[in-house]
Symmetry: C2
Subunit: 239 residues, 2 copies
C-alpha cells in the first residue's frame, strides 16, 4: 500500500516579499518523513481570501492530509480561519471551548481578553482544536486540513500535538554515500543502478567544497536488502 | 499600473523529504522585491514529469514571470529541461551553443565531456541561454519561464544574470516599527489604521524575546507621504 500523502500551504505576504525566511516547511517535511507520510507539494501564497480558499479546496481534494501555517493571530491580516471556514462552507464565530482556553491563559497573566484577542477564538463549526502549549491560542483541524500558527515555536509545538493523531505509513529507509567525483562522472553508473532498481528512489545532490566537486548519493526505499545491494554496486563502481 | 507578477517553482524530492533546506525561495523573493516585481506564489514539487509539466503550464499562464530551481544537472533524476520543453510542445536535444560552452569549460579543466555531462546541453528549441558564471552549464528562458539550477551558489549567479533583463515595477517602500506590546493590544488600533489607509499593506509580525511579547509592524506602499502619515498615527497610538 502506498504511504499516505500530504501537502502544506504556507500563508503570508512576508515570506513572498523576502522579509521573513520560512522555516516551517523544512520542519514539517522532516517530521512527516519520519512517520512515513509523503509530503508531495508545498504552496506559499499571500494573505488573500480567494487565493487561500482556492488552494485549500484544491489541496484538500488532492492529498490525504493538508497542513497550513500562518494567519491565525489577532490582527486584521490574520484571515486564515475565516478562509478555511469558507472553503468548506462552514459557519465561523468565537467558540466557547476556544474562548475558555484564552480566558484562562490571559487570566493567569492578568491580561485583558479584548476583542482582538478574542478573534483567536474564532473556530469553524465541526472543527477540532489543536493544542498550543506555547501561547495557548489553539489551531484547529477541519476535514483533512490542519490549521496552525506561523510563528515557528508555536508551529512546531502544534505539529508535535498533531503528529500522533495521523495515520503514518512505512518510514522510508535511506542510505547516503559521499562520492568525491564530479556529478558528470557519477551520472552514468548511477543511471544504470537507478534502472536496475526501479523500486528505489536514487537522488544525487552535488556539492563543491574547497574547489573540489563531489555529490551525496541518497538511496531511498522500503526494503533494506535492496538498498544494501544498490549501495554495494555503487561502491564497486567508485572504489 | 500594477507591478509585474512572478511565481517560482522549486523542483526536488530532497526538499519535500526534509533532507535539504531550500534557500533559493528566500533569495529570489528579496531580489524580485528590490526591482518591484511581486512574487505571488511559490510551489515546491517533486521530480515527477506530470507534476512539473502541469505546474509550469498553470503558472506560466497565471503570472508575468516564472522561475524554476532544480533538476538541470547531469544525473538521471534531472528532468526539468525535458519537462519544460514538453510543457510548451517544443523539441529538445543537445544544442550546439550550449555544447560549445560546456566543451570550453571542461577543456580548461581537462575533464571528459561525457554523455552525462552533455545532458546539461539539452536545451529546448527557441529557448535563450542563461549565463552560469559559477559552473558554466547554462540555464535557459523559454516563453516567460526562467529555468535555473538548484545549487544555491549557481541559482544566485543565474538570478543575477537574469534580473537586469526583467521589466520591473515600482519598488515598494516600507517602514518598520517595533512595538513592545502583545499583538492583542496592537491589533485594535492597527486594524483601524489599515482601514484608514486602504492603499497601504500593513503586516504585523509577532515575536517573543526574553519572555516579553512584541511585534514588528511593517507598512508598505508606493507613496512615501502616506507611509509617513500611517507611521505617525501608529506612533501616537503606542507612545
Amino acid at each position: 500500500m502506498p504511504n499516505p500523502t500530504a501537502a502544506m500551504i504556507v500563508i503570508g505576504d512576508e515570506i513572498l516579499s523576502g522579509r521573513t525566511r520560512d522555516s516551517n516547511m523544512h520542519h514539517l517535511a522532516g517530521q512527516l518523513t519520519s512517520v512515513g507520510i509523503d509530503l508531495k507539494e508545498v504552496r506559499v501564497i499571500g494573505d488573500e481570501h480567494g487565493t487561500i480558499i482556492a488552494a485549500v479546496q484544491a489541496m484538500s481534494k488532492a492529498y490525504d492530509n493538508v497542513f497550513t501555517s500562518g494567519g491565525i493571530g489577532p490582527t486584521h491580516d490574520d484571515i486564515t480561519a475565516d478562509c478555511i471556514a469558507a472553503a468548506f462552507g462552514k459557519h465561523i464565530d468565537v467558540r466557547d471551548d476556544a474562548r475558555a482556553i484564552l480566558a484562562a491563559h490571559y487570566a493567569r497573566s492578568g491580561t485583558d481578553l479584548n476583542e482582538a484577542r478574542l478573534r483567536m477564538a474564532r473556530i469553524p463549526d465541526d472543527a477540532t482544536l489543536i493544542d498550543n502549549p506555547v501561547s495557548s491560542a489553539p489551531g484547529f483541524k477541519l476535514e483533512n486540513v490542519h490549521v496552525m500558527a506561523g510563528v515557528p515555536s508555536v508551529f512546531e509545538a502544534m505539529v508535535a500535538s498533531v503528529l500522533p493523531t495521523l495515520t503514518g505509513g512505512a518510514p522510508l529507509i535511506s542510505a547516503t554515500l559521499r562520492i568525491d567525483r564530479g556529478e558528470g562522472d557519477i551520472a552514468g553508473p548511477l543511471g544504470q543502478i537507478a534502472k536496475d532498481y526501479p523500486a528505489l528512489s536514487i537522488g544525487s545532490y552535488p556539492f563543491q567544497k574547497d574547489g573540489k566537486y563531489g555529490a551525496h548519493i541518497v538511496i531511498r526505499g522500503s526494503i533494506q536488502a535492496e538498498i544494501d545491494a544498490a549501495v554495494k554496486t555503487l561502491e564497486a563502481a567508485f572504489p
